[in-house]
C-alpha cells in the first residue's frame, strides 16, 4: 500500500516558528492569503491598547547570537509573565546549553527570558524576563483572559497579534469559526491569516481579552488558521507561575506529558467500537471519525486489473516535540482488493507486492531505535491473517514507542484485504492493547 497524499497539511506548530529561516530568503514563503481587509477602527484601537503587551520571542544560538527561531508572545498578569508556544521555545527546552531566549518589545528594547513551564500537548509555554532586567511590557495594562463562561459566537470578530516573518508587529483581523471538528484537543478555527513568526501571539476579542494563542495555519487553504483556546494558557500560567526556571533539558517532563496524552488518546480510542468497512466478506476495522479524519478512494469501475478500495484515517493533532520529532497520533488504513478479473497468480503477485511496499520505523536513529518486529499467521474470528507487529522505542523519551501493525487476510486466492494501524508515542502496554484491539477488528462476516 502506498501512502495517499490526498491533502497536505501543515504540521501543527512547526511551521510557524521554524519556517522563518526560509522566509528570510523568500519573503513570500507564506502563502498569499488573499486580500486582507483593511484594518478597521476597532483593530486600530485594539492594537493601540495591546501593543505594549506584545513581544517577539527569539531563540538565539549561544555564542554567535544569531536567531534560530522566531515567534511571538504576550504579557499576562501583573508579574510580567509571558505566554508563547512550546514550539517557539522548544530548542531552548531541549538544549538549554546551546540556546538562549530573548524578547523584543514593540519599542525595540530587548531582554533575556527564562522558561518556567510548558504544555507540549497544547503547544504552550510560559516564560518570564530574567530577574534584574526590565519588564517585558512596554506600558499599559497586562492582557486578561476572556472568561470561559462567555462563549464566542460564530462569526465574531477576533484579532490575532504577533510579528509575522520577523517583519514587524502586526494585527490580523479575522473571525471566530468555532472549534475545529474532529480534533482530539479543542482547537479554535480562526478564519484569518496567520504567518510564521506569529506563533505564540495572542488572539483577542473586541474587548481586548485573550481568547486564544496563535499556533498554526493550513498552507493548502486560505485563511484557515488555528488557535489554542485561552483556558489551556490560563491553566499553564496557574500551574507554572511560581516554578523554578528550567536550565536542564526537559525530556523527563516532556515524557510525562506525552504519557498522559497517549493514555487519553488510547483510552478514548479503545472505548470506541470499530465501524464497518462495508466489505461483503471481511470485517475490517475502520475507526470512528470522532477525532480522526478518513479519506476513501477506489479504482474506477471499468478497470481491467486489480480492483481496490481504500480508506485512510488519521488524527489531525500531532504533538510537536522538536523539529525532528512529532508524535502522539494514530492512523488506521486499509485496502480491500478484488482480483477476480486477474486470476489467482496475477492477484497473488499484486497482493504480495502491496504487502512488501510498507515501511516501518523512522530513519532518525538519534530519536528512535530501529524497529523490532514479531510476525505470525494469526487466526482471528475464523479468518487467517498474516500479522506483522513492529515497534520502535524512543531513545530520549523513555517508555514511549511507535507501533505499527500490518495485516493481510489469507483465506481467498483472488480477494483479500490489507490493513495497518500506526500509533506514535504510546506506552508499551498501550501499544499491545491497540494492536490487540486492531487485530480483533478483523474477521469473517456471517454469510448473509
Amino acid at each position: 500500500m502506498s501512502r495517499l497524499a490526498a491533502w497536505s497539511r501543515l504540521a501543527l506548530g512547526c511551521g510557524l516558528a521554524l519556517a522563518v529561516a526560509v522566509a528570510g530568503a523568500q519573503p513570500v514563503a507564506a502563502p498569499a492569503t488573499g486580500a486582507a481587509a483593511p484594518v478597521s477602527p476597532s483593530a486600530q484601537r485594539l492594537y493601540e491598547r495591546a501593543r505594549g503587551q506584545l513581544v517577539q520571542v527569539r531563540t538565539l544560538l549561544k555564542g554567535q547570537d544569531s536567531q534560530a527561531s522566531v515567534g511571538s508572545g504576550f504579557v499576562v498578569g501583573d508579574d510580567g509573565l509571558i505566554v508563547t508556544n512550546y514550539h517557539v521555545v522548544s530548542q531552548l527546552a531541549l538544549q538549554p546549553e546551546r540556546y538562549r531566549l530573548v524578547y523584543t518589545r514593540v519599542d525595540g528594547r530587548e531582554g533575556a527570558l527564562q522558561l518556567l513551564g510548558f504544555d507540549a500537548v497544547h503547544d504552550l509555554a510560559l516564560v518570564r524576563p530574567a530577574p534584574g532586567g526590565a519588564t517585558a511590557a512596554a506600558g499599559g495594562v497586562p492582557l486578561a483572559f476572556r472568561p470561559v463562561a462567555e462563549a464566542l459566537a460564530q462569526g465574531e470578530r477576533i484579532y490575532a497579534l504577533g510579528n509575522p516573518l520577523d517583519v514587524g508587529f502586526a494585527v490580523m483581523e479575522g473571525n471566530y469559526n468555532g472549534l475545529v471538528e474532529r480534533s482530539f484537543h479543542p482547537s479554535i478555527f480562526f478564519g484569518g491569516a496567520l504567518s510564521s513568526g506569529m506563533s505564540g501571539g495572542p488572539a483577542l476579542d473586541e474587548a481586548g481579552r485573550v481568547i486564544g494563542v496563535n499556533v498554526a495555519t493550513r498552507r493548502d487553504g486560505q485563511q484557515v488558521s488555528f488557535l489554542v483556546p485561552a483556558r489551556y494558557a490560563q491553566a499553564l500560567v496557574e500551574r507554572a507561575r511560581t516554578a523554578v526556571p528550567i536550565t536542564m533539558p526537559v525530556y523527563a517532563e516532556l515524557t510525562a506529558q506525552l504519557m498522559e496524552h497517549q493514555e487519553q488518546v488510547t483510552q478514548r480510542f479503545l472505548a470506541q467500537p470499530w465501524r464497518s468497512a462495508g466489505h461483503p466478506r471481511y470485517a475490517i476495522p475502520v475507526p470512528q471519525e470522532s477525532f480522526m479524519r478518513c479519506w476513501g478512494r477506489s479504482t474506477s469501475a471499468d478497470t481491467k486489473g486489480l480492483e481496490f478500495e481504500r480508506s485512510d484515517c488519521e488524527m489531525d493533532h500531532q504533538v510537536f516535540v522538536s523539529g525532528a520529532l512529532s508524535t502522539g497520533t494514530l492512523a488506521v488504513r486499509h485496502e480491500a482488493y478484488d482480483g477476480r478479473r486477474l486470476g489467482m497468480l496475477r492477484f497473488t503477485e499484486r497482493y504480495s507486492r502491496s504487502f512488501r511496499n510498507e515501511g516501518f520505523g523512522r530513519g532518525n536513529r538519534r530519536e528512535y531505535t530501529a524497529p523490532q518486529c514479531a510476525e505470525r499467521f494469526v487466526e482471528q474470528a475464523g479468518l487467517p491473517l498474516r500479522a506483522v507487529l513492529c515497534l520502535s522505542a524512543y531513545k530520549r523519551l523513555a517508555g514511549l514507542y511507535d507501533l505499527s501493525v500490518l495485516v493481510a487476510t489469507l483465506d481467498q486466492p483472488e480477494i483479500g484485504a490489507q490493513g495497518r494501524i500506526d500509533a506514535r508515542g504510546v506506552s508499551f502496554d498501550n501499544a499491545m492493547k491497540l494492536a490487540e484491539h486492531y487485530l480483533q477488528g478483523y474477521g469473517l462476516r456471517a454469510a448473509p
Binding site: 497473488t348 532518525n364 530501529a370 505470525r376 498474516r386 499491545m432
Partner: protein
C-alpha cells in the same frame, strides 16, 4: 642423425612458435649468428647460454650476459650452472624456451572440451527457452488482462541480445587468452547461473511463506551474492584455465568480504544482520502449511520485543556514524 632432444621457443600465450632439433651437445643459445638456437630478442646476449652434457645429466651454463636468466622462479646470473631435466622452461630476456627430451614423461591426453558435443548444445537450447519462458511469465504476471502484447517485446528481444552480448564479450576474452572462441561454454554458464538465481529468488520466499520460517527469505541476498561471484569465477576460469585455483581463492575471498560488508551495513542501517525486516512475500493461501496462532498468543509473542527495545533505547551512542544533518531531519 639421432634426435637427442628438442628446444622449443614459446610464444607469449604458451604455444610453440619455433622448434630447434638437437643432434649433439653442447647447444648454444643467443643472438650471435653462430648460435644453435638463434634468438630475436634485444634483451638477450650474443651468447646467452649453453646446454652441455655432463656425464648423463644436462647442465645449463649462463654465458656472458648482464640480464642472466630465469629458471624455476630464480634469477641465475652470468657464470651460473643449473642442472636441466626434460620439460624445463626458462626465460632469456623476453623469450621463453623449453627443453624436451625423449625420456621425459608425457601428460595424459586431455578430453575434448564438452562445448563441442551435441548434448551441450541441446542443454543450452533448453535453458534458453526455459529462461525466456520464465521472464515472459514474469511479464505476464505483472500485466493486466487485455494489456497490449508489446510489453513482451523487450523481454523477447532484449534477453537474447543481452545474453548474447554478455557471452560474446567473455568469449572474446577466451579468444585472447586461450585462442578458442568459447561462446557456448560462456553462454551455458551464464544461463545456468541466471536460472538458478531466478529460481532461488522465487522459491525461497515462497518456501518461507509456506513454512512460516522467515530465515529462508533472509538468506536470499547472500545467495545472490554467492551466485554473482560464482558467475564471474566461472567466466574467468574459462578464460584462464591455468589460474583456476588462484581465481577460486580470489573469488571466495571477495565473496567473504562482500558478504561481511553487506551484513555489517545491514546491521548499521537497520540494526539487524539479515534483511528484510519482515517476511514480505505472500503466496497463495493454499500454499500456507504453517499453523495459525490466536491473536492473544501473537500479542504475547510481541511482548517479548520489549527487552530488546529497551536495551536499544538506552544505547544512544549507536548512531554516531550518522551525519548530523541526517539525524536532525
Amino acid at each position: 642423425m639421432i634426435r637427442l632432444g628438442l628446444i622449443e621457443l614459446l610464444d607469449p600465450h604458451g604455444g610453440v612458435a619455433h622448434r630447434v632439433p638437437v643432434t649433439q651437445w653442447p647447444v648454444t643459445i643467443g643472438r650471435a649468428l653462430d648460435c644453435d638456437v638463434l634468438l630475436d630478442d634485444p634483451h638477450a646476449a650474443a651468447c646467452h647460454a649453453t646446454i652441455r652434457a655432463d656425464g648423463d645429466a644436462l647442465v645449463l651454463e649462463v654465458g656472458d650476459t648482464r640480464n642472466g636468466l630465469r629458471l624455476r622462479g630464480r634469477e641465475w646470473p652470468a657464470g651460473s650452472r643449473v642442472p636441466l631435466a626434460g620439460g624445463a622452461e626458462w626465460r632469456i630476456g623476453r623469450s621463453t624456451l623449453r627443453l624436451r627430451l625423449p625420456d621425459e614423461a608425457l601428460a595424459p591426453e586431455l578430453p575434448l572440451a564438452p562445448a563441442t558435443t551435441g548434448r551441450r548444445r541441446h542443454a543450452v537450447t533448453v535453458g534458453l527457452v526455459a529462461l525466456l519462458l520464465w521472464l515472459l511469465g514474469e511479464q505476464w504476471l505483472r500485466s493486466d488482462p487485455g494489456d497490449p502484447l508489446g510489453g513482451y517485446l523487450p523481454v523477447l528481444v532484449g534477453l537474447p541480445i543481452a545474453l548474447g552480448a554478455w557471452s560474446f564479450l567473455w568469449a572474446l576474452g577466451s579468444k585472447v587468452f586461450t585462442r578458442h572462441f568459447d561462446f557456448v561454454p560462456h553462454l551455458s554458464l551464464a544461463l545456468a547461473v541466471l536460472l538458478a538465481s531466478l529460481l532461488l529468488g522465487a522459491l525461497l520466499p515462497l518456501a518461507a511463506f509456506a513454512t512460516g520460517w522467515e530465515a529462508l527469505a533472509r538468506i536470499r541476498d547472500l545467495l545472490t551474492l554467492a551466485l554473482g561471484a560464482a558467475l564471474l569465477y566461472g567466466h574467468l576460469s574459462l578464460i584462464l584455465p591455468a589460474r583456476r585455483q588462484a581465481l577460486a581463492v580470489g573469488f571466495a575471498t571477495m565473496f567473504a568480504v562482500g558478504a561481511s560488508l553487506h551484513l555489517v551495513l545491514n546491521q548499521q542501517r537497520q540494526d539487524r544482520w539479515f534483511g528484510p525486516l519482515y517476511l514480505s512475500t505472500l503466496g497463495p493461501p493454499a500454499l500456507r502449511l504453517a499453523p495459525t496462532t490466536s491473536t492473544a498468543e501473537f500479542i504475547e509473542q510481541a511482548r517479548g520485543l520489549r527487552g530488546a527495545l529497551e536495551q536499544r533505547a538506552r544505547d544512544t551512542g549507536g548512531a554516531a556514524w550518522l551525519p548530523d544533518d541526517e539525524a536532525d531531519e
